[in-house]
Symmetry: D2
Subunit: 252 residues, 4 copies
């Protein structure tokens, strides 16, 4: 049994930093690096690419809406052609940094409001896939299983890689409990680690109402900017190792 | 005898456009496409890349300072590491668009204040070259002959391609008469065209004070955003053809 | 009988300009000046304020989403507190320029997607009104009659001034025919001028399906960035004068 | 004897924060609030204005170059008219927020590279003063004694208020030891507090080479974003109180 661990990195901008990128890079196997639109200045992008390359961590393009002030967390009602071009631009920009670090972009993961929109909106989902098809159709996209983005990807011959969240509560239909609701986010590192092991070895998760549902994921998303993020990440990785799970990037 | 014709394209941003990109693409052989920092939104970049690719026009990265409000015309006193990362980011971003258009970035040309700074400042010049070395050291850089950028390039094994300006007055030392001075910019299309032919076939130019100096250039820069730009470009190209000069990109 | 004529001005940014601000300022009585979020750099804002002040044209804050790349034409799904702060910031910024020009901001008009959203969305409408209440509750807001913004304004004691569009087709319910539909925008200056006169003197307009509806407006909006904009503006003003209508700002 | 304590506040942007604004507001008497160009989103600006107003802390406009990526720490070689307009815009924008908080902007202090440039460059210094003259000539400007900005201010009838830095080493000519040099910044809170008391009660400071120079300041600048910033601020304020110095804003 094997699994990938991914996290959002490089989410500072200039003078401002967020999370402990270097500590997380010692735990994860895939780094979703911000590409400058919701976060991520070029110096930070280049440095995180170098740090990822030095550790053999796979680099993914964390593409977002052009919205530094809102950190990409506000949906922008944009035309699909504009979104395709924005994704191409960000993909290329990160690849410029990755290439200078002796690596390259290996996958795409939307960020924040774009992530959520791509789960439900077939038009924006297709616009993202269109960018991948035009840039390099062998790049997988990391998303929720069953999302509009996963469907749009498969229709275009792009691989959709499923991810799960060990620190988030799920509803019976397999969707995430919205962050605003009580209990939506777990904070106890041991509980999160145990949940991660069950997700990977059993392919299931206990939902908010106590039922067990299947949860087939090729990657677990770890949060990088929450309190205790690094400790939780280490706990998850240690528990997976103890359970005999190999932690490996889903793509090299 | 052969020569390349280059011009700045894609210098709009969103709702705002500048110059007649499509008309110029029918005349020039190398397109310096803005990369989003001083001008150039992703949709425009992608469209101009597609138009250039369709005509076999070579694509170059017109990299600039991050300064939309100042159109990249104000020197920013930035650290070399920051500048290297900014150039890598822009290079990659344009290449993302070029790749989607079935082409790729073939050279680099700094824009505006960065162009002028790189002519005289060895530190910023070296920072630009460092980005090229790290991204793809086979990419030439387009600049003035004898500039700090040309010197920095040659010291790092990067090719510096010389360009000349048929519509600008030169001083006896081979530098350009500053734009603010009277007579700095020529406007008569026939005079400009004749000057272009002399530059290419004779390798010389008459300076402001009447002396003749050598002017060895592999590319002539045509301006795209001045009144009559398209007409001047056509006049130059026609005069070169009549003089038996082949107009070809300096790099494919 | 009297009427105000308003138009969007100052919608360039740095190197880029849009429309002929100075020509329009000779025709209109209220200038909706862009405040830097969707368009409008400080130099342009200051210059247009000076030109407006010199002609006795009333200055209004044309507030928009923070979206230079999209010219404020894309809805951003932002929290009301964020929107209130963004409006306060823009209001104050324009007032800084207006004050330096010996004038001041006299009203507020949302731009583009924010205008359209405020017509139908009570939450964003209320967020705009909240900014006005906190900044200066005597400032009127210019909007469509019956809009969510007009309702939110009246609930907070803020004056809503109704505007109409002489160059746009109306539906029987008094809403505008969407721009994408054929016939949505009129281009003939004489037809537009005649329509303007009927709107003002008769308080009615003929809708797309031929019925006549009442259209009580205190201001007519003229477009500044369409082909023939200046000519249309002059035609409207001349026709109004000929019909004995006084053209005056709705607020001094 | 009395003195003002000022500090830079509101220097986050959207998701990113910097320093502990609220803790510092309990110590200082004048808040230099970032205005959105180098830092400071509207929500942050409004909140800090409200917190300052609630504590009777005077609000100043901390104006900077338009350079979020560089945090305003890179000199931009801009035309004076452009700088004047940028300062007017920022002044007005902050005043919009301050007004909504029941307060107003009471002084101006340039930030980062603009601060340093205004110390030595008469052209940019005069451009800043021009903005103040046009906006409200009664607003003082906070700067180093003897700076180009102080001179430009006095020539235009604008008050220049002198500030000193208790945590920075001085050279014999009264200028600051550049940050890059060893010993340029003091970190020991007791040493800084003692230095502050001497500056205020004695009007002197011991320079790097051991000589004593006069240092007449009406305000002491406390740093907000360094480790131990809040503790140092409290130590300075307590030491001043113990020495019988009244801590009061230089302007209400």
């Amino acid at each position: 049994v094997q699994i990938d661990l991914n996290a959002d990195l490089g989410e500072g901008f200039g003078r401002w930093s967020l999370g402990d990128d270097e500590a997380l890079l010692n735990v994860i196997t895939s780094a979703n690096i911000a590409c400058g639109f919701h976060a991520g200045d070029p110096v930070t992008m280049l440095r995180v690419c170098e740090q990822a390359a030095a550790r053999g961590v796979t680099i993914g393009a964390q593409v977002g809406y052009r919205d530094l002030a809102g950190f990409g967390r506000r949906k922008i009602d944009m035309a699909p052609d504009d979104l395709t071009a924005d994704v191409l631009y960000q993909l290329g920009a990160l690849n410029g940094c990755a290439r200078a670090a002796g690596s390259h972009v290996s996958y795409v993961k939307p960020h924040g409001a774009l992530y959520n929109t791509a789960v439900v909106d077939p038009v924006q989902a297709a616009a993202i896939v269109e960018a991948i098809v035009r840039y390099d159709r062998t790049l997988p996209v990391l998303t929720l299983p069953g999302s509009a983005l996963a469907i749009a990807a498969s229709e275009s011959g792009v691989t959709a890689v499923s991810e799960a969240f060990a620190d988030r509560a799920y509803r019976a239909d397999g969707t995430l409990v919205p962050r605003e609701q009580p209990g939506a986010v777990l904070h106890d590192s041991l509980a999160i680690a145990a949940r991660a092991v069950t997700m990977v070895t059993n392919g299931t998760v206990i939902t908010q109402n106590g039922t067990e549902i299947t949860m087939a994921a090729h990657s677990l998303c770890l949060h990088g900017d929450t309190p205790g993020a690094v400790e939780i990440a280490h706990a998850v990785r240690a528990a997976l190792a103890e359970a005999g799970v190999y932690v490996r990037p889903f793509r090299r």
